[in-house]
Amino acid sequence: MQPFTTHTGLVATLSRSNVDTDAIIPKQFLKSIKRTGYGPSAFFDWRYTADGQPDPDFELNQPRFDGRSILVTRNNFGCGSSREHAVWALAQDGYRVIIAPWIERNGQRLPAFADIFRSNTAKNGLLAIELAESEVETIFKSVANQPGLEASVDLAAQEVTLLTPDPVRFRFEIDPGAKEQLLKGLDAIDLTLAHADDIHRFERDHDTWL
């Protein structure tokens, strides 16, 4: 897997919450048995009109976002289906980083990303960053005001810097395991196979009732 250390790129915004993985990659593309070729189909139903042309009304189709690699969106991104195809599609469509806010509802903190989606990202070199709602709002405003705005991300330092004339820096938290996996581009199966003896020992006196 391609490691992720630092990244600087153009920021694009998608102002929708609860973007589900059916929307990120619709079902018809799940029939493929390959791991590649999903990029052009990301957000398919929103991205293209019925005759297959890019829909000018879709936020991410604005010419100002050509060449973007950082996606900033709203809360609960990636909910729904477990399809890893959603992460493949985003990564193959050129995204390296996705930023979304956690929000508060009924006094509870609700995460920015759905669980399965988040765990799929780290396995594919895509960095999912959770920020506070006010911080994400700042990014949305800055992008709206400044076409061509870039951001730079430093995973080791856990920092996103918005490259406005007066750069703004946000710190983010990340699961230490995901961080390590991304930084080193580690193969999770290799790591686990290093504990093959433990698995073997566990299996010996574990009942699976089969």
Binding site: L30, S82, R83, E84, P111
Partner: protein, 469 residues
């Protein structure tokens, strides 16, 4: 301090604690279907690896398969290639497959319990978010991505961070014509589609204890719609009665069953166990539920008007407006006034024998509205045979329904069963996302009884009053 059901199962499966605070967890059952597995098997081939425990791995074909009588010849070449890839992978890696045409083929979350593979106390995974269904037996069951499918195939383990625990108590008893589907939709409406993210839900309370296994599965199935990877219900005598029926070939028998039952009875959460979060829902106040928007949290009581964009807690005005535009609805509309085009009874949420019996009871002696297409799709071939033995298929056909073979069907329309653009559907499935049942299709999630009544009326109705008249 006591332990919760979840904590007992978790700690019994930790192979090793990892330095970063995660755990290497042993997996007892790995269920595989055609859509999320081909890239995992490809990974195995590329790395020259093999499947560690083919004996704990089971496979079926459900998402892509046609549900019509000519289903064995899949017309769509891309779907056919995916189904054939699974056949080849199962042959090459020595995995039990319940393929198209097999007597046990069906939706993966319907056949696991049916075959007795789903048991209390097990860890169960599948490359499918609705794996939470199996938690109804007091198993820890959750969906995984394709990279994790590959990881489990090779190592029979997963690296996981321990989630929090969230107890949902359904106190009291539901009123007439209120089902577990309504209970879970109500719960999702209350906590939101991310309200369970990071938690394992445990459902309890008088109303849950009184439910059949089928009804419990419908609740656990939709845990993921609240963001929770897993939902669980403590095993009890209802669970044991279901598992020990004759038709469950993989369930333990004899001495193994005695040992298993002693273990299962030790699993329920201890009286002094502490959950990270708790919520009590008064079941007696729940009305039949219907979704009005484009995710399962956009839900209301039947009879309520479609909400104003700025009157929905937890959603921005823009989000609600987008949902209403997509659904072709304006605020203030009563869904009971809006014509339907399609009614779908099926999916891993509501395609078990009990669901079909409930739908058939409503349809018996009645006929669907002329402008409505009614599709009834059993969750498995075993369910289909049982329904036919009970004569339910005759009731469905007499009511004008299409009675199909087992599969995911119009739950997601990867197969030929799809909504056409702007068609409006009352569906017993679990997701009303944009495009889920077909591009630009409009989905209203309901219980099987509500769906059956809607098919007859040609629009949504409050089944409680409608059945009386």
């Amino acid at each position: 301090m006591g332990k919760t059901l979840f904590e007992k199962i978790w700690s019994a499966h930790v192979v090793r604690e990892m330095p970063d605070g995660s755990s290497l967890l042993y997996i007892d059952r790995h269920l595989v279907h055609e859509v999320t597995s081909p890239q995992a098997f490809e990974g195995l081939r590329l790395a020259g690896r093999r499947v560690r425990r083919p004996d704990l791995t089971f496979s079926t074909m459900d998402h892509n398969v046609p549900t019509t009588v000519d289903r064995l010849t899949i017309a769509d070449p891309v779907s056919r290639a995916q189904v054939e890839a699974l056949q080849t992978n199962c042959d090459d890696f020595d995995i039990q497959l319940y393929g198209l045409g097999d007597a046990h083929q069906g939706i993966v979350h319907v056949i696991g319990p049916e075959l007795g593979q789903t048991l209390p106390g097990l860890t169960i995974v599948c490359g499918d978010s609705h794996t939470s269904t199996h938690g109804a037996f007091g198993a820890l069951a959750f969906g995984i991505g394709t990279s994790e499918v590959e990881h489990v195939l090779v190592t029979q383990t997963l690296v996981q961070r321990k989630p929090g625990t969230f107890k949902i108590d359904f106190s009291g008893r539901p009123g007439p014509h209120v089902f577990s589907k309504d209970m879970v939709l109500k719960m999702i409406g209350l906590i939101g589609t991310a309200g369970g993210t990071g938690y394992v839900l445990e459902y309890g309370g008088e109303a849950v204890q009184a439910l059949s296994m089928e009804a419990r599965m419908s609740i656990c199935n939709m845990s993921i719609e609240a963001g929770a990877r897993a939902g669980m219900i403590a095993p009890d005598e209802t669970t044991i009665e279901y598992i020990t029926r004759d038709e469950r070939p993989f369930a333990p028998r004899g001495e193994a069953l005695d040992r298993a039952m002693a273990y299962w009875r030790s699993l329920p959460s201890d009286a002094d166990a502490v959950f990270d979060r708790t919520l009590t829902i008064d079941t007696g106040t729940i009305a039949p539920q219907v979704t009005w928007g484009t995710n399962p949290g956009m839900v209301m009581d039947i009879g309520q008007p479609v909400p104003e964009p700025d009157a929905v807690p937890g959603y921005s005005r823009e989000d609600v407006q987008k949902a209403l535009d997509y659904m072709g609805l304006v605020p203030g509309t009563h869904l009971t006034d809006v014509d339907l085009d399609v009614v779908f009874i099926g999916s891993c949420t509501n395609s078990r024998i009990e669901d079909l019996r409930q739908a058939a009871a409503v349809l018996d002696g009645r006929r669907k509205a002329d402008h409505v297409d009614l599709l009834v799709v059993p969750g498995s071939e075993q369910v289909r045979r049982q329904a036919e033995a009970e004569g339910l298929d005759r009731i469905f056909k007499a009511a004008g329904a299409q009675w199909r073979f087992a599969g995911c069907s119009m739950c997601l329309g990867m197969n030929p069963d799809q909504l056409r653009p702007r068609q409006r559907c009352a569906s017993t499935s679990n997701r009303n996302f944009e495009g889920r049942q077909g591009k630009d299709g409009r989905t209203h999630l309901v219980s099987p009884e509500m769906a059956a009544a809607a098919a007859v009326a040609g629009r949504l109705v409050d089944v409680r009053t409608w059945l009386e008249t």
